[in-house]
């Protein structure tokens, strides 16, 4: 090979190679980083502090300062009557090894330490960014109102709840800060004995705040009543189901008549007799 054919490194070539080098490295870094970021999102089961924005907005708005967790730990309210000290702090800041919670964001595990639903909700005004939205827990009189908290919804596993077996247990019912509102006891006849009643805990989804005091109180080895984020706990029937006996729900569909509602899909292009017989051989 002669030296004449050796490619010349011109300023132009250097410029383009450098540009490609920088862009390539930037893209490599960005892809790795974005890939990690995608995996770093919290699990859908994460319970956030009271008044937290919906998870996607919460994650973009929380600056991970920990002021909510600090306010929770050093609150004046909810003093333990026996020790005279505040009860242990509910809010934790996720560490690198916390499973399923984005590092540095506040969360709580109801079975460990539930939310005690302080009257003054100290964690929410402490937030500097609005990731905890004070307006969402403020009532019409402009006061903070713990009834408006919404961290999740308590769900009963009727298979493992011993009250559904007929044993007497109303621990969750009594632990609930909104007693006889968020959890009611439903009386049912126990046909096995013929003379006893089932006292079954039933959660009212419109009142429950998801504080988790019931989950903490539940005596079964793994709690039979537990808090899930509302999006996980609740199904969605869809707008086409109407409670005809419910005036409000009936209003939702207004004056629409059955005849106006027709369904069009691929099959309705042909008559039934045609598409049902399509592709059938009669030999």
């Amino acid at each position: 090979m002669s030296t004449k054919n050796k490619p010349e490194i011109t300023a132009r070539r250097r410029f383009f190679t450098d540009a490609a080098h920088h862009a390539g490295l930037g893209l490599l870094g960005g892809l790795l980083w974005a890939g990690y970021a995608d995996k770093a999102r919290s699990s859908v089961l994460t319970l956030r502090p009271p008044a937290a924005l919906p998870e996607a907005d919460f994650l973009r708005t929380c600056i991970k300062c920990g002021l909510c967790a600090e306010a929770c730990r050093n609150r004046d309210s909810n003093i333990d009557k026996e020790t005279g000290k505040p009860r242990p702090e509910t809010l934790k800041m996720a560490r690198a090894d916390t499973d399923g919670v984005t590092v540095g964001t506040p969360y709580f595990v109801a079975r460990d330490v539930p939310c005690y639903m302080c009257d003054d909700i100290p964690c929410v005004p402490a937030c500097p960014t609005g990731a905890l939205d004070e307006a969402s827990v403020t009532n019409d009189e402009g006061e903070l109102d713990f009834r408006k908290m919404d961290m999740g919804l308590a769900v009963v596993d009727t298979n493992s709840c011993i009250a559904f077996w007929g044993l007497q247990c109303d621990l969750c019912y009594r632990a609930c800060p909104l007693m006889d509102e968020a959890i009611k006891l439903q009386y049912n006849r126990n046909p096995r004995t013929g003379k006893h009643a089932f006292l079954e805990p039933v959660v009212n989804k419109d009142v429950c705040t998801g504080c988790g005091l019931c989950e903490k109180a539940c005596p079964t080895e793994k709690a039979a009543i537990f808090v899930l984020p509302r999006e996980v706990a609740l199904g969605r029937p869809g707008s086409h189901y109407v409670k005809g006996w419910d005036k409000k729900d009936q209003q939702r569909v207004g004056e629409r008549k059955m005849e106006d509602i027709t369904t069009h899909d691929k099959r309705s292009e042909k008559k039934a007799a045609d598409y049902l017989n399509d592709g059938v051989s009669y030999e």
Partner: protein, 267 residues
Amino acid sequence: MSNIKYLILRRITQIGLLVLYFGAHAYGWKMLSGTISSSSVLGTIPLSDPFAVLQMLAAGASLGLDVIVGAIIVALFYGIIGGRAFCSWVCPVNMVTDAAAWVRRKLLIDKIERKVWVTRNARYYMIAIALVVSAVAGFAAFEIVSPITIFNRGVIFGFGAGAGLLVAIFLLDLFVLKNGWCGHLCPLGGVHSLLGKYALLSVKHNSDNCTLCMKCKDVCPEVQVLNMIGKRSERVVQPECTNCGRCIDVCDDDALGFDILALGNTK
């Protein structure tokens, strides 16, 4: 003692801030609560990390007034007075990377290792990447990997596996690249360099006193900013200088000192 004066002062501020943060959570002290991402002084004055706020805005967050005001206060302080002083006087990771640099000097690693070259401008590319990834991911991207906040939160709320990241930074600086994290990669350092570019406080060199011993260049974590040593009597103008004062500490000839620029005087 005079050759570690600023070093001691810096360690006192760095550790003192961590103690205040820790006490705020553990004992309810009010002096400085929160974390380095966003704090509250005496429960009233907000302070926030301008870079975190920038990422959050890139991610499309609509932010409360407190955190915006906090970021402006911090940006004004470093922009007008401190320069890049955050990196050497406040940031806790500085203690990790300083330790790595110290071990490097003791073990003469610089004289032995094969050099890996990385541009010191990498941090500015990191800023751009962080903002793009924040916009794509929908949350502040650097904040989930930042060793600075992981160290800071670790002291307050417990380290957990986050300690591994700090060990990794130490090993990077020790065995891969001299001043690798703070001097090349950290985007927060890049932001503070840009912020503090026109600040009043900086180091000034008097070349008449200089004996060319080069001790300052041995200890400087951003050695390129000392390009005037022994040549010209002038202020350090490159924005990457962290105002750490190590060069002033080690100078035996009174050829370096802090200088507060009187407004309008650029010499």
